[in-house]
Structures are given as structure tokens and as C-alpha cells.
Subunit: 160 residues, 2 copies
DNA sequence: GCTCGCCGTTCCGTTTACGGAACGCGCCGA
DNA sequence: TCGGCGCGTTCCGTAAACGGAACGGCGAGC
């Protein structure tokens, strides 16, 4: 399933899909639904709740993740991330070969391996190999909004 | 929880919330997430999969529902609806006092009580008391997109 | 080696979701 | 009875998501 054919089948623009996969778009429900309906995937499958860094109910601290896209090969997962000011959020090591790509939209984010975090402001980009524990923290008192792309080494799956 | 306070807490405009509840907006993930995060409700809770009229996997026929909003009193539920050309979709009677409001965005929809369905085109609006079996069908060969609001009689709940 | 077709990206004009402000309404206290 | 406050709706300018078209890159086939 190529991006072009999915765009045609789902009745959305290729630009929309491209932007979605690269985390540069904030899709409407209409768009996301058209795509998932075509894929035969329930929305709840791609909109999994907070996974690695659960939100604490009733508080404004912490980071929340919102998975917005995941390809059928499970080679990458795209999240929208919000990191509120406060103590750093920790994430355990992933499997070997996983790379994390973060693009910051607003605020200043300090993230990466716990022993060597990186800093990025609006429009900037971070990447690290995530087979070691890593952290996320907002620098300053502004909420950080960013996209987080997890890229996995290719896995063998049964095509639907 | 009033619309005004929810808008302030969630950091979204009152116009956005108002339009959402009336089915005249097609929210972005960002917006919907801001609201549900403030309510302490996971996105998957408001984005329940097709309920009454399940989609048949791998086919393009039938109607799909996408719940996009539900207030904490459970007095109304807002769905986005897509009805594909083909045989009419049936829905059983709801509890007494439930009213269904449908606003058509595109296509022509024929819906309502099975013995007296109504027809509406783009921009038009249907309403009926849904304590009898009712149906939905697309007129012509164009997919119908519409919003569906289920309004329940007030129920007694414990305020959060 | 060249050409054709499909890939994903980028550009661009249109559409529309967005937040802020202004509005009318209803409730409540003075 | 009147004024004030909070409610939900509507108006409006701005920001951005949208689809279509154009682009360069890559692989297959003649």
C-alpha cells in the first residue's frame, strides 16, 4: 500500500497524507476517519491512549502522547506530544534499532538519552537511538508541543 | 461544567466548543485532545467505534458512526455519520424520550422512522423521536456525510 | 542506456477550523 | 424592578488543513 494509492482510495490529498506521516499536519477527524475507514482500522486503534508516559488524572504535569498514525508494517509510529513544565518524564529503553525523531512546534524541549539530553526550540529537530533510557522535559514554563516519530527496524508481518 | 468554563480550562475558544456540540465543526485532533485531556477522559472514550450500524470490513456499503462528543451528564451524544449508497441501514428503537437530530453536509439522506422516513440534502436538517425503529439510506450514488445528535432525557448523575 | 511509470515531497490557492469579542438571554441578589 | 453576572451563540479576522498540480528521484522494461 503506497501513499499515493491510499490517498486515492481514501479520497484525501497526497499532500495531506505526506504531511501527516511527517508530523507537520494536525488532521481533522474527518480526514483521519477517511483514512482509517479505508484501511479497515478502527480509529481507536490508531488513537491509543497515553502509553509510555501516562498522564496523571486531574493534574497538569507530565507529558502526554497521542498516537496519530502507524503504518501497517509497524515500522513507524507517529505521536503528537505535549510536555508540561515540571520534572522530566522518563521512558525506558526500547528494543535495539529503534530511532526516535522529535520535531518541536512550540516551547523548548530537552530530551534524549538521560546521560546526554538535547535541546530544541520551535522548528528544531532532535533524533537519537532509543535503546537506552531517555527523558523529556519542558525548558521554561511553556508547554512544549512536538511530534514524536518512533521508527522500528523492519519486521516481518503478514500482509492483510 | 459549563461550556464557558470548559473552554477556559481546555484553552480552546467558546466558539469552537459551541460549534462542536452543534455538529457544525470538524475538529482537529489537537482541539479534541485538548478538550478530552481537560475532562480527564481518554480519546478512545469519545471516539468509540461504530456502535449501532457496524461497518462491514472490506466493503464500502453501510453507514458508519463516529462519536465525537458526549457530555458528562450523558444527555447527548454527537456522531459524525457516513452513509454509503446501498440498502438502508436499520436501527432499533431507543429508550423513550430520545430524540435524533441529523444535519446533512453532503449527499442526500433519507432517514427517520421506518414507516415515515424523511429526506434531506446538504445543509438541511431532520429530527425525529427515536423510540421507534428507524433507518438511514443514501439517495443517489453519493456518499452522505452528516452529523447525528442523540439527545436523551435528563438522567441523574453524580457530578465529578 | 533511455524512457516510462509510480513513488513521496513540495508548492499553491481555496476552504475552514481556530480564538477573541460582541451579543442576547436568563437567573439572582440588591 | 433593576443591574450584574454567567450562560451559549454568532460574528469576524487569522491561521492552517485541505486537495490538485507540478516536481525530482528511483526502479523496471524495452
Amino acid at each position: 500500500m503506497s501513499l499515493s494509492t491510499l490517498a486515492r482510495l481514501a479520497g484525501v490529498g497526497k499532500a495531506t497524507l505526506s504531511g501527516l506521516e511527517n508530523g507537520t499536519r494536525n488532521p481533522t477527524l474527518e480526514t483521519l476517519y477517511a483514512i482509517t475507514a479505508q484501511l479497515g482500522v478502527p480509529l481507536t486503534a490508531v488513537l491509543s491512549g497515553p502509553a509510555e508516559t501516562p498522564t496523571v488524572r486531574g493534574t497538569a504535569v507530565g507529558a502526554t502522547l497521542l498516537e496519530v498514525f502507524s503504518d501497517t508494517d509497524a515500522t513507524y509510529e507517529l505521536y503528537r506530544m505535549r510536555v508540561s513544565p515540571g520534572p522530566a518524564q522518563l521512558s525506558p529503553a526500547h528494543q535495539a534499532g529503534v530511532t526516535e525523531h522529535v520535531t518541536v512546534f512550540s516551547g523548548v524541549l530537552r530530551a534524549g538519552p538521560v546521560d546526554a539530553p538535547l535541546t530544541a526550540g520551535p522548528g528544531e529537530y532532535l533524533r537519537w537511538v532509543s535503546d537506552v533510557p531517555h527523558s523529556y522535559a519542558a525548558v521554561g514554563d511553556e508547554v512544549v508541543r512536538a511530534s514524536l516519530l518512533l521508527r522500528y527496524p523492519r519486521v516481518t508481518t503478514v500482509d492483510a
